[in-house]
């Protein structure tokens, strides 16, 4: 598992990312999101949708959805992955996170509960041992026909790509804000999250193979947006 991560990270040596944001948690950038634009057409034409936001708690997103009459669930899985009770070892003695405990404490919802899941950049920054179990759980809590939006860095983004939180400020406009962990939640990790891997298209298709369809949107800022339908 660690050799796979090392192989991915070797691809970055000698390349510099096009974005180097200053380490100020309050600085915000905006970006246009084709994936969000497509999703917006869904929730603007529907009533009382059930939406799951897996990013950092965003007052902006909560206001956006509640003002439109939708029900919003907020669950910050990246922060949850810093639980000090999660680290364990696999059969080979390699350090991993306990995915069973993680899923016992997080993403606990009835099956086929959500119309929309907003993953943002979660798969890129989540620990390797949690990615597939989390995607499997998301499949089960999505309604048939429900949609999931996720962002993946391309190889050109560079290994030091900062982890952002995303705020919906328009039908297809996102405000990106660099994440800094709350002091009381840091528990031995750095002040932010590190890019764990780079998925290529085939890896993304494999990750979401249980979903009915997948659509890719490639953006100029070295982000690959993916919209999948259960």
């Amino acid at each position: 598992m660690s050799s796979v991560s090392q192989t991915f990270m070797k691809l970055f040596r000698g390349s510099t990312g096009p974005e180097t944001l200053p380490a100020q948690g309050s600085q915000k950038l905006t970006r246009r999101s084709s994936g969000l634009g497509e999703l917006s057409r869904t929730w603007e034409s529907a009533e009382a949708l059930c939406i799951l936001d897996l990013g950092s708690t965003s007052p902006t997103n909560i206001r956006h959805f509640t003002e439109s009459g939708h029900r919003i669930y907020s669950e910050d899985l990246l922060t949850a992955s810093t639980d000090p009770e999660l680290p364990t070892k696999d059969e080979q003695g390699n350090p991993i996170l306990d995915s069973r405990k993680f899923l016992a404490d997080n993403l606990v919802y009835p099956a086929a509960h959500f119309d929309v899941v907003l993953c943002w950049n979660l798969p890129d920054y989540l620990d390797e041992s949690l990615v597939k179990p989390v995607v499997g759980r998301l499949w089960s809590v999505l309604k048939p026909g429900g949609m999931l939006l996720a962002f993946f860095h391309t190889r050109d983004a560079g290994p030091d790509s900062p982890c952002h939180r995303f705020h919906i400020v328009g039908p297809d406009i996102l405000e990106m804000q660099r994440i800094e962990l709350r002091r009381e939640l840091r528990r031995g990790v750095s002040d932010s999250f590190q890019l764990q891997r780079v998925f290529n298209n085939r890896h993304i298709e494999t990750l979401f193979r249980d979903f009915a369809s997948i659509k890719f949107f490639l953006a100029r800022d070295n982000i690959r947006e993916v919209l999948v339908v259960r």
Binding site: T57, P59, T66, R71, I72, Y73, S74
Partner: protein
């Protein structure tokens, strides 16, 4: 500002209560409570040192500390920037400061006048 106004019922930070808490006045809670809190028609403020593991039923709820439990507020819920809330929120209006942490559902019910 975390200091409670005078005239409020107060639970100081050294106090631990386990059980059902109910009342007909506003409450400022800066200690630990496990169980349930019912203040229909009145407001609950969980201070920055407050640690609550309880369901809450009140008119208005302001959270500055930690709360684990569902919140039912007939008027308004405010999560200040130091709030850490795990549970579902049902209310008419909600205000969440940047920095607040919420794990749960937000359900807005607007009552017709």
């Amino acid at each position: 500002m975390s200091a409670p106004a005078s005239g409020l019922a107060q639970i100081g930070k050294s106090v631990f209560i386990k059980g059902e808490l109910s009342g007909s006045e506003d409450l400022y809670l800066d200690g630990q409570v496990e169980g349930s809190i019912a203040l229909k028609g009145n407001s609950l403020t969980v201070g920055p040192n407050g640690q609550v593991k309880a369901s809450v039923d009140a008119k208005g709820v302001v959270i500055q500390g930690k709360l684990e439990g569902n919140i039912q507020a007939s008027d308004r819920v405010e999560l200040r920037k130091s709030a850490v809330v795990t549970g579902d929120i049902a209310t008419q209006r909600i205000s969440i400061e940047e920095g607040a942490y919420l794990k749960g559902k937000v359900d807005i019910h607007r009552t017709d006048k």
